[in-house]
């Protein structure tokens, strides 16, 4: 076997191959990496050959899955090597190791451009390929004209032009503006007249990307695509090299047909006729042959033709021909064809009215549901789901239920979700629906998400006729020996609400119902106990006249849980206990749940969202989605019980209370996300998960204290930073509040983010950084950068906003609005409505602090870019600490003050738990950066920290504030904090402010090297045994 040109590389590869285990391999790799590193660092320069060899080794190591975090520069530098072999390696390895945002790429941009516009066509190819693979926005802006020139140049050979086409495709995706539609449409049409099949193949890919965004502009390309197809179908002028097993380039055929699917229709009758001739020939003329490759290739073309026929809404005859073909395919032995038959049948369902002919194949499809191959089973499930309607729902759902117990784990969740949706959508009667869901929970409880049982509860609540039936069913399930926890939840809920309707039946007295439910209590988790407690309370309420014995048992249970560690359980126990003593009043409070407002099923949303995944959607898919959404129930956006949203405990900074008529969701968005980006979406992806999720949980009935509490708990969870970041981007007026469904949300949001503009960097981190320093970037997205510069003097401040347009086109409809909290007086100068291209405008802001408060001012900023309206809400870093002035006090002054401020409300003490662990030095620098002067040596205990500062506001005179922190070296997560000042509000606000900083300091906001200007340590000479003094005082 011929070894490759690089001996060292071959030796290394065979060394790796001979490693007996992963450990040895790692050692060998580490050794090699060390070697390469030394070589790259060595004084005497490496030859290009040596560099090439090492760079290949790096690529090999990278492929093995090891991190190669050096040598990138060497790889990039090979790009500028004069000889082809080195240059080639440089380009290939660079595009494998680096991503488009890597700084080194920027350095290479000139070399790359020189290669592209140079005369050497092999160099041109290399450069075009790399840019095509990893070129970013900067490449796009500087290279697009050159690439376009190459693509249409008549003097350029096909081998360069085919690469230029795909390179342009990349640049276009990075920045659509680089292709000027008016000028380019004709050029594109000309390109499709090309004879060379390589250039045609890549140009068609370019066309697909262009038409998927704007088919209007490229109508002239449609006949050209048909022509290409005709040429291929008739095998005219096709070089032997492009014929694959006798089939003229199947890949080009597929691509051309794909491009045609992005045009909504074909109006010209002649073109339509020629196309249908070709399609007819493909449909009829594709036979099954012995040669696998030929067979696959011809069927690749056939399936694409089927898709195109479906898209074009052909005559009925041709459509039934297609269904017949697919029907044949789903019954063949060849698994690939069977898979594709099922897949395409599902697609067919979405676009045309062929349900009846597809239904004829139902039995065959059900057989495929039991195929040994999971890929095929999934397709069958999808198809059954799609073809289900009122006429066959019972059969299909029962089939799914039956299959559920045998299905593999990977599929059960999807299966149960789909069964639940079908049961809901097509239930011939509601009792059947209840049966199905209960069976579902019984058979696959682990895979039944909460949405499913919430939904059944909603249905039962809203349909009085259903209530006794559902309660009786729930009662039956409770008799089973081992039932799933979800079943316990749903039965307990239903029986709590409706068991009194069964009272006359045997085994259904309140006491019996109670004991059968209570039996389950030891087996359930803490999330279920609250539901059981509610059920007990409801049973008590319905037991009229009261049964003292039952009352005693239930009260004892409430009593027991009054000291439960789980706060939800504890609260319910305490409240129910108190309420149930009220006698008749209980009737009002625990009355039956009111009906839920009609709203779209969260399940349907879930299923839909899963579909949204790629930016370039085929026309078929888009149409299918529209159809789906037409079929849905009108969405009600209100949360289930209309309880107002409250600010989560974990949000760092309080938000100013807004006037009462302010849209509730504004408030909510802010509290969740600490700076929201709202995008006005022309067709809002309605995410009404909150309502569905929280609705049934609010078991207490009409909005009461406990409901409030639950919402609190949920929004408290929002503090999870990653999900909060996603939650930051929500369409206006949407209710998104549940961490559980964040995954789903991410899906929707990522889709939105692709369509619109996403902020660069983390808005929160930027805010926190600006709380500590006075200038920096507040916000940035692809279009705009908002910088800030601030000066603070006593209770006044001057802040300048720098609005910089990053684009080459103007930003219009620029609006900035300040929502000041009550304690700040803010005047914003005029903001221009338009920001010219690449320009920066300055908007000064005057601030005055009226009295102490932690509330934060919000800047509501919006602009229009193209047709997109971008709307962001940003917190202004005009926070409490900006109005502090560091001050150092002598020991005497300190103690004098400390003593005079005795006890609340002027002096407050609190033990803070859950503190982010910080060393004392770290805490000192944090304090200093917040302009709290730490006075070392004042406290005798080295684990304590004492600080002082002055606070300025208009209403108070400059106020001295004193702070003492006592830490516990054994447990850095807790500390005791004492804050004192001459103003009770200030003491409180400052204490809370410091607490917030200590409990959840985002890592990014860790102060840089602290350099407090006036923070000089107090002169130790002035102290007379301060330790003893302080100890006596505290």
């Amino acid at each position: 076997m011929a070894l490759s040109g690089m001996r060292g590389l071959s030796v290394f590869i065979s060394d790796i191959r001979n490693c007996p285990n992963k450990e040895q391999e790692r050692l060998r790799v580490d050794k090699e990496l060390g070697n390469i590193r030394t070589r790259f660092k060595s004084e005497k320069g490496l030859t290009h050959y040596e560099k090439k060899k090492y760079v290949w080794k790096m690529l090999y190591i990278h492929m093995l899955g090891y991190d190669v975090d050096f040598g990138h520069m060497e790889a990039v530098s090979l790009i500028s090597a004069p000889k082809y072999p080195e240059k080639q390696v440089g380009y290939i390895v660079t595009s494998s190791l680096l991503n488009e945002n890597h700084d080194f790429l920027r350095l290479a941009i000139n070399t790359v451009r020189n290669d592209i516009i140079g005369r050497n066509e092999t160099f041109q190819c290399l450069a075009l390929t790399m840019v095509g693979n990893i070129g970013g926005r900067e490449f796009s802006e500087s290279l697009a004209p050159d690439v376009q020139k190459l693509l249409i140049s008549s003097s350029c050979r096909p081998l360069v032009r085919k690469k230029a086409a795909l390179c342009l495709l990349r640049l276009y995706r990075k920045n659509p503006d680089v292709v000027n539609i008016d000028g380019w449409a004709d050029r594109m049409a000309q390109l499709l007249d090309e004879r060379d099949l390589g250039v045609l193949t890549s140009s068609t890919s370019l066309l697909v990307a262009l038409v998927s965004n704007n088919h209007e502009a490229y109508w002239s390309c449609l006949p050209k695509c048909v022509k290409i197809l005709e040429r291929l179908a008739r095998n005219q002028d096709i070089p032997q090299e492009y014929t694959y097993y006798g089939i003229p380039s199947p890949w080009l055929q597929v691509k051309a047909m794909r491009a045609l699917q992005y045009f909504p229709t074909i109006e010209d009758p002649n073109i339509r006729r020629s196309l249908f001739e070709v399609l007819q020939r493909i449909l009829m003329g594709t036979d099954v042959v012995k040669n696998v490759n030929k067979n696959n290739a011809s069927h690749a073309v056939l399936f694409e033709a089927l898709a195109l026929v479906m898209h074009l809404d052909a005559e009925k005859e041709m459509m039934s021909q297609c269904v017949a073909l697919l029907g044949k395919f789903i019954a063949v032995r060849e698994p690939n064809i069977r898979y594709l038959g099922l897949e395409n049948m599902s697609r067919m369902l979405m676009v045309t009215d062929v349900h009846d002919s597809i239904k004829r194949h139902q039995a065959q499809i059900i057989t495929s549901l039991k195929d040994p191959d999971i890929s095929i089973r999934r397709r069958a499930l999808d198809l059954l789901y799609g073809m289900c309607d009122v006429s066959n729902a019972k059969d299909i759902v029962e089939e799914l239920l039956q299959y559920l117990s045998a299905a593999d784990f990977a599929m059960r969740e999807e299966l149960s979700l789909k069964a639940a949706i079908l049961a809901e959508k097509f239930a011939p009667d509601l009792s059947w629906y209840v049966d199905v869901i209960l069976q579902l929970i019984d058979k696959a409880g682990d895979f039944v998400s909460d949405d499913i049982w919430f939904r059944v509860v909603q249905f039962v609540t809203n349909n009085e006729d259903l209530q006794p039936y559902a309660a009786a069913k729930a009662r039956e399930y409770l008799d089973k020996p081992a039932i799933h926890e979800t079943m316990v939840k749903v039965s307990a809920y239903l029986l709590g609400e409706y068991s009194h309707l069964l009272a006359r039946r045997p085994g259904c007295s309140p006491k019996e119902i109670f004991s059968v439910i209570h039996e389950k209590l030891p087996t359930v988790s803490t999330t279920t106990i609250p539901i059981l407690l509610s059920t007990y309370a409801k049973i008590l309420m319905h037991t009229q006249p009261a049964d003292p014995e039952l009352q005693k048992i239930v009260w004892a249970i409430f009593n027991k849980y009054e000291s439960c560690i789980d706060v939800e359980i504890q609260q319910r126990a305490v409240e129910y206990f108190a309420l149930s003593k009220k006698g008749a009043a209980l009737m009002d409070i625990l009355a039956e749940m009111p009906k839920f407002p009609e709203r779209q099923s969260a399940l349907l949303k879930k299923a839909e969202d899963a579909e949204v995944d790629s930016a370039e959607q085929s026309a078929i898919k888009l149409r299918a989605q529209q159809q789906m959404s037409n079929a849905l129930v009108v969405t009600d956006q209100r949360p289930a019980n209309g309880a107002p949203q409250t600010v989560g405990e974990l949000s760092l900074v309080k938000i100013p209370s807004m006037s009462g008529d302010q849209h509730a969701s504004t408030d909510q968005g802010l509290s969740q996300a600490n700076g929201t980006l709202t995008t006005v979406d022309p067709q809002p992806a309605s995410v009404d998960l909150l309502g569905d999720l929280l609705g049934p949980l609010a078991i207490e009935g009409p909005p009461g204290a406990a409901v409030q509490f639950e919402l609190n708990a949920v929004s408290g969870l929002e503090g999870v930073p990653s999900s909060a970041d996603y939650a930051a981007i929500v369409p206006v007026g949407e209710q998104t509040n549940t961490v559980q469904l964040m995954n789903l949300l991410e899906h929707v949001l990522m889709y939105n983010a692709m369509l619109f503009k996403q902020p660069i960097g983390n808005i929160n981190e930027r805010f926190y950084a600006l709380c500590l320093k006075d200038s920096g970037v507040l916000y940035e997205d692809p279009n705009i950068q908002i910088g800030i510069k601030a000066e603070w003097r006593a209770h006044q401040g001057r802040l300048v906003l720098f609005l910089g347009n990053k684009n080459t086109s103007p930003l219009v409809s620029v609006q900035a609005l300040i929502l000041p909290p009550v304690h700040l007086k803010i005047e914003l100068s005029l903001v221009p409505e338009t920001i010219p291209p690449r320009a920066q405008v300055q908007c000064p802001l005057e601030l005055m602090n009226l009295h102490p408060s932690r509330d934060v001012a919000v800047l509501e900023f919006s602009y229009k870019f193209g047709t997109n309206m971008v709307n962001v809400k940003l917190r202004l870093p005009a926070v409490l600490n900006k109005f502090l002035q560091p001050i150092s006090v002598s020991a005497e002054e300190f103690f004098l003050q400390w003593r005079s401020l005795s006890g609340p409300p002027l002096k407050l003490q609190e033990v803070v738990r859950g503190v982010k662990p910080l060393s004392l030095t770290e805490m000192t620098s944090l304090f200093n950066s917040f302009r709290l002067t730490v006075c070392p040596g004042l406290d005798p205990n080295p684990n304590n920290l004492v600080a002082s500062t002055t606070f300025y506001s208009e209403s108070t005179r400059p106020m001295l504030c004193l702070i003492r922190i006592e830490t516990d070296p054994a447990d850095l997560t807790q500390l005791r904090m004492t804050v004192a000042s001459g103003d009770p509000t200030l003491t409180f606000e400052l204490k809370e402010f410091i607490k917030e900083q200590l409990v959840s300091i985002p890592t990014a906001s860790r102060p840089p090297a602290p350099a407090p200007p006036a923070a000089q340590p107090t002169n130790p000479a002035a102290l007379t045994d301060p330790g003893a003094l302080l100890a006596g005082l505290l």
Binding site: S4, C167, T201, Y244, P372, S375, S614, E616
Partner: protein, 143 residues
């Protein structure tokens, strides 16, 4: 996008070639390769060549000890990709003469050169074996 990545993996699950057309971090690559290799290698001949994974599909084909795995978007034409794999193998055959795992291993750079001529930015550029191989032949001649 079309093709997201092309992997060549032997039946022990060792990666012999990996080419990604979308940027993934090393951890993501490792996780992804682990997951799909586990999924695909466990399948038998009677099962189809397509595996659905997350929000995309793997089209794969086995040649002796070596698996070729291609990650594609959900709406890609599966059979066309399946035959594209075969075209790649035939092209390597023409160059190496009855290509085997070792050829790809020890001539990683050549395998990369070929792939580079065939796929760019996740799209097929060239399907003529002559055109694909001409730069490599040119280089062999000069060196």
């Amino acid at each position: 996008m079309g093709i997201r990545f092309i992997l060549m993996v032997n039946k022990q699950g060792q990666t012999r070639l990996a080419q990604y057309y979308e940027w993934l971090t090393l951890e993501e690559r490792r996780a992804l390769e682990g997951e799909i290799v586990r999924k695909c290698l466990a399948r038998n001949d009677q099962q189809c060549s397509f595996v659905e994974h997350r929000n995309y599909k793997i089209v794969y084909r086995r040649y002796a000890s070596l698996f070729f795995l291609v990650g594609v978007d959900n709406d890609e034409n599966e059979l066309a990709i399946l035959e594209f794999i075969h075209l790649l193998v035939e092209t390597m055959d023409r160059h190496f003469g009855n290509v085997c795992e070792l050829d790809i291993m020890f001539h990683l750079e050549k395998a990369h050169f070929m792939l580079e001529e065939m796929v760019m930015n996740g799209c097929i550029v060239e399907t003529s074996k002559c055109n694909i191989l001409s730069p490599i032949q040119l280089m062999d001649k000069t060196s």
